[in-house]
């Protein structure tokens, strides 16, 4: 049996035919669509390396079955920058040294984008650490990660306020 679905992936519509309902969103992205930016760490929801935005909310792509997602809007790390202009969270990670090996980084950045949209942490470092606890960094770059999320939150807040004024 095959399943057809349509996804809006990083802003572009995609028709997908699946021959197997077992394919996770993570494997679909990496192995079938050729977007390897989203990483596989544990494949069990425990590390956050596979974080993407699903209809604007951060989720673990390794626990989402692709077949369930017809009509969904998905943003991956590849869809974050605007051409050569990086997303403010990407900029902030570079400036604050929010990584070492970089393996967890796409997931960290997508999770941070999701967290900032949720508005639950603001620029409080303790709330940021709690809000980012679904993303493990084996290199323990947590200090820089927290600073990056804090800084990005401030800049994005300032930009929204600037727009509103």
């Amino acid at each position: 049996m095959s399943f057809s679905l349509t996804l809006t992936l990083n802003g572009a519509q995609r028709d997908i035919v699946l021959d197997d309902p077992r394919v996770t969103l993570l494997d679909l992205l990496r192995d079938r669509i050729g977007l390897p930016g989203t990483k596989k760490g544990c494949d069990r929801g425990q590390c956050g390396a596979c974080t993407v935005l699903l209809n604007g909310k951060r989720v673990n792509a390794c626990l989402a079955l692709a077949v369930t997602l017809d009509g969904a809007e998905i943003t991956t790390i590849e869809g974050l920058a605007d051409g050569d202009t990086l997303h403010p969270v990407q900029d902030a990670f570079i400036e604050a040294d929010g990584f070492q090996c970089g393996y967890c980084t796409p997931g960290q950045i997508m999770s941070a984008v999701g967290l900032i949209a949720e508005g639950r942490a603001g620029d409080d470092p303790e709330r940021i650490r709690e809000g980012m606890s679904g993303n493990i960094c084996r290199c323990a770059a947590y200090h820089g990660i927290t600073k990056a999320v804090q800084e990005a939150t401030r800049r994005m807040d300032a930009a929204t306020k600037g727009d509103a004024a």
Partner: protein, 336 residues
């Protein structure tokens, strides 16, 4: 994962009609897909509930209660201001569970019906006493049985939550505590083919809003299952406790409530000695299985601390570290 058939019905009637033995309902999938990857769950048919209409509402009733659709996400429920104001310890427990990503995907019904941690290795025939014994029950179990892993269900049990289900024999209401009471051969009291449609919190639960806390002790500060936890709720009449609720998490195959422990607090002024006696009573009958002796003492202290926090008052805003024993002394260690 072994292969399975897949259906995505668009009405509750179609979903119920599609059910056959061997089928499984799919909510957010954060528990079931994980289990299927390990081989611990092998449904022949997966029935995805995500397209069922009308199961994503949070209704705050005029009498002070609430009704929550089965597909509401854990995050959306915790973040619902009116719900969190009425049932703050439910919101705190939700936010103390899993991670931001998992809470966005996980549904209310899926959280309640999640498999215990031993389901992940049981099918391999491993001796539960050989491996990590932290998830074993010290109460209400005959032998090495895993605890109910949910944080959410602990305050729900304390507040007498009711679950609305529908199945081949029509709709029925079942108390959460009864739903989660496992028997020798069933994991829950849900009959084959029954579907959870909603969760109800009785209005009385909201009368505890001013003094209600969830406390969760973990191996690390965030993103870990509970070693022990407690939901404590007090209603005061002047300086004395009019009514108390206490449920313990991660100690039994179901959230653990002891009527005598709650009753002995009624009419009393809150103090350390009272909470000590309540905790002792709640844990009477606790038995260490394997090397879980530490759990009895930890659960006792967790109960006392949760009652003490509840007696103080519910904070206006949830602490930065929800449910954490470190919430009070949390400081900025980022040197930011």
């Amino acid at each position: 994962m072994i292969p399975f058939a897949f259906l995505q019905p668009t009405s509750v009637d179609d979903a119920l009609a599609a059910w056959t033995p061997g089928a499984a309902w799919l909510g957010g999938g954060t528990n079931l897909v994980d289990l299927m990857k390990t081989g611990g769950g092998q449904p022949s048919l997966l029935i995805d509930l995500s397209r069922l209409p009308g199961l994503r509402d949070i209704e705050m009733s005029d009498d002070g209660g609430a009704r929550v659709g089965a597909l509401v996400s854990n995050a959306d429920l915790a973040d619902h201001p009116a719900f969190a104001a009425r049932f703050p310890m439910v919101a705190e427990a939700l936010l103390a569970g899993a991670s931001g990503q998992i809470r966005n995907a996980a549904t209310v019904a899926g959280n309640i019906l999640q498999y215990p941690r031993d389901a992940f290795f049981k099918h391999l025939g491993e001796d539960p006493l050989d491996g990590d014994t932290t998830s074993l029950s010290i109460l209400g179990a005959n032998g090495p049985v895993a605890v109910h892993p949910s944080d959410f269900c602990v305050p729900l049990a304390a507040l007498d939550a009711v679950v609305e289900v529908q199945g081949p024999n029509g709709p029925r209401d079942i108390a959460l505590a009864d739903l989660l009471a496992p028997t020798a051969d069933t994991r829950t009291a849900l009959a084959p083919g029954e579907l959870v449609l909603a969760l109800r919190l009785p209005a009385e639960g909201a009368t505890f809003a001013g003094h209600a806390r969830y406390l969760k002790v973990r191996d690390r500060t965030s993103f870990a299952f509970a070693l022990t936890s407690a939901a404590a709720a007090l209603r005061f009449d002047g300086p004395r406790i009019a009514e108390a609720r206490l449920a313990l998490g991660a100690v039994a195959p179901t959230p653990w409530r002891v009527a005598e422990a709650e009753a002995l607090m009624a009419g009393q002024a809150p103090d350390a000695d009272l909470f000590e006696r309540a905790a002792q009573t709640a844990l009477s009958g606790a038995v260490a299985i394997g090397d879980t002796g530490w759990k009895i003492e930890l659960a006792r202290r967790t109960a006392i601390r949760a009652l003490t926090l509840a007696a103080a008052h519910t904070p206006a805003r949830l602490p930065a570290l929800p449910g954490s024993p470190f919430a009070a002394q949390a400081k900025d260690h980022a040197h930011a």
